[in-house]
């Protein structure tokens, strides 16, 4: 071993174990993730394009996909706004118990989705602590996609807060002071100086929350009511098809979800790169 490391060490490192650890990594990743994921596309390929399109055009499947993507998009937008405000308050203002509040932000990451699901249903569901009085006042309709948005807004919040927070904390006040000496108003400073810097992390957080929302199952099914065509999400329909041993139907929905999510994430990533370049951060 000693002979192997000449002094001074050459630039390209010579630490041992690359073969072993890389081999372990690839084998593990291949067996646990890649090979099983390929099973979705192998199953889909075995079905043929005609069959896939026929299954995909099934109205209930289309409705479930639409519900999942639309609610995830809306919830991610809500998260972007709420997350920005929360991150702003946490970074720039001082208030009592701030550290505690900051720690609580990650609760949706740590709380199992089934627990979040029954808790949110018990609060905001039609018979819930908050939901029931609202329903009585005629302000709440049971089992609509709005309930799904509530669950997804819970799940997605930390994604936005945790991506915006560090960038905002790093943002030097000097830029804002410079803009101030040039006669800008506070609104102009925020919209023209601060927001361009926050836009890339905001988009990243939005994309992460959206991706999570599209696939979310546990927290949604308890509150959504799960009415086909109305409040039934795509992951639930996969579960239903599997319970009927309808592998082809389940695979079609899964493949559609995977492809659409990857495509949308790609677009959002490109958009993120573009805004980063525009903001002068290469």
């Amino acid at each position: 071993m000693v002979e192997a490391t000449a002094l001074p060490a050459p630039k390209g490192t010579v630490l041992p174990g690359l073969g072993l650890t890389l081999g372990m990594t690839l084998a593990y990743l291949g067996l646990i993730v890649l090979l099983p994921l390929a099973a979705v596309f192998a199953t889909a390929a075995g079905m043929g394009l005609d069959e896939i399109l026929r299954l995909l055009m099934d109205p209930r499947t289309l409705a479930a996909l639409r519900v999942s993507f639309a609610t995830a998009l809306l919830a991610a937008a809500i998260n972007a706004v709420a997350g920005l405000v929360v991150a702003w308050v946490l970074v720039r203002y001082d208030f009592p118990l701030k550290r505690l509040v900051d720690g609580v932000i990650d609760l949706p990451f740590a709380l199992p989705t089934a627990v979040a699901g029954i808790a949110l249903a018990g609060l905001y569901g039609p018979n819930g602590w908050v939901g029931a009085p609202l329903a009585e006042a005629g302000l709440r309709v049971a089992y609509t996609p709005a309930d799904i948005v509530v669950a997804l807004a819970f799940i997605g919040l930390p994604f936005v807060v945790r991506t915006v927070e560090p960038v905002l904390a790093d943002l030097d006040r000097e830029y804002e002071e410079a803009a101030a000496t040039l006669g800008a108003s506070r609104l102009q400073v925020v919209s023209r100086v601060v927001m361009p810097v926050l836009l890339p992390p905001l988009l990243t957080g939005f994309a992460l929350a959206f991706a999570r929302g599209v696939g979310e199952y546990g927290s949604v099914i308890f509150i959504a009511g799960n009415l086909p065509y109305l409040s039934e999400v795509a992951p639930l329909l996969i579960v239903i098809k599997l319970e009927e041993y309808n592998y082809a139907g389940a695979t079609t929905i899964a493949a559609a979800m995977l492809l659409t999510s990857f495509l949308m994430l790609l677009v959002i990533n490109l958009l993120g790169n573009w805004t980063r370049r525009r903001a002068g951060h290469v």
């Binding site: 490391t5 060490a9 490192t13 630490l15 041992p16 174990g17 690359l18 072993l20 650890t21 890389l22 372990m24 990594t25 593990y28 990743l29 993730v33 090979l35 099983p36 994921l37 099973a39 979705v40 709420a82 405000v85 702003w88 203002y93 550290r99 509040v101 900051d102 932000i105 609760l107 949706p108 990451f109 740590a110 709380l111 199992p112 989705t113 089934a114 627990v115 029954i118 949110l120 018990g122 919040l157 790093d170 804002e176 002071e177 101030a180 800008a184 108003s185 506070r186 991706a211 979310e216 199952y217 546990g218 992951p235 639930l236 996969i238 579960v239 041993y245 389940a250 995977l258 990857f262």
Partner: protein, 295 residues
């Protein structure tokens, strides 16, 4: 900023600068109130609700919900699944970080992206892929049945699905940190005659111990709480393939709300302990965790 304040030479009194670099107190208080109200309604209230509903039937009902045989077997299965999947992903994370952070090779970016892949796959799809592989009508289903091997609707399937959804946690904490730390320490140890494995054990591992613990904490919380992926492969056989989150669902669907929330309160306690431990790690050892201002 230089020693002389920017405002000294500028034709603007400090008050004007402050007015454009800070929000007015009214706006500040309003934003704080909005943020805290939002967090209280969406984060705090659900947590309070779980414990309130769990104790609604009194302490005796609460305890009996946690000690009845199905609950006990769900607790045992959850612990077993975490005891297998967390160490497995810990070893994977260490191996992957050693390969990616300490060496140069082609396709590193792709590999790093692939490691994060399970986070962007729906948990239900994570379960589905194992059903497609090992299920009765799956690719390997007939062969498995011939050889009497049960994977789906049994414990191995639950473990596999859990390993899938928790795979990135440790690796993604370690890779950026080990990249930042470079290889100088390891090279010094090697040049002093340590073997590769000794170097890893005595130099690298102590350098990343807090980040490793951080990743393991998050990995464990998710492993014990995973619902969607496990639900697909478990088959919901009471007392046999029900983990704690699945047991919550079963009780809830039977309208046994007190018991459902009692079991849920166990999982919520796990989440609270995880959050507290995570916060302490960030406060005390923030510098020893991954790069960037992680507070």
């Amino acid at each position: 900023m230089s020693d002389t304040p920017l405002t000294a030479k500028a034709p603007f009194p400090p008050a004007v600068i402050a007015a454009t670099t800070h929000e007015t107190p009214g706006v500040r208080h309003a934003l704080t109130a909005v943020a805290l109200t939002y967090l209280a309604l969406f984060l705090l209230l659900p947590l309070v609700m779980v414990f309130a509903e769990a104790l609604r039937g009194g302490l005796a009902a609460y305890l009996s919900a946690l000690t009845e045989p199905d609950a006990v077997s769900a607790i045992e299965l959850t612990l077993l699944v975490a005891a297998i999947s967390v160490p497995a992903n810990m070893l994977f994370g260490l191996a992957a970080a050693w390969a990616i952070a300490k060496h140069d090779f082609r396709g590193k970016t792709v590999l790093t992206t692939l490691i994060d892949l399970p986070f962007s796959v729906s948990p239900v799809i994570a379960g589905l892929i194992y059903v497609l592989l090992f299920g009765l009508h799956g690719f390997l289903g007939p062969w498995l049945r011939e050889h009497d091997v049960e994977i789906v609707f049994a414990v191995p399937g639950i473990v596999l699905a859990t390993v899938f959804v928790t795979l990135p946690f440790v690796a993604r904490e370690l890779i950026p940190l080990m990249q930042e730390q470079g290889t100088a320490d390891e090279e010094a140890a090697l040049s002093l005659g340590a073997s590769g494995f000794q170097t890893f054990l005595r130099v690298t591992l102590p350098n990343v111990r807090w980040a490793l613990l951080y990743g393991v904490l998050l990995c464990n919380a998710r492993a014990m709480g995973e619902f969607g992926a496990v639900s697909v492969v478990s088959g919901h056989i009471r007392g046999y393939t029900n983990t704690l989150p699945l047991h919550v669902e079963v009780l809830y669907n039977e309208y046994n709300f007190v018991a459902a929330f009692a079991v849920a309160s166990l999982l919520a306690s796990l989440a609270i302990v995880t959050l507290i431990a995570k916060s302490f790690l960030q406060w005390w050892y923030g510098d020893a965790l991954a790069s960037g201002p992680k507070r």
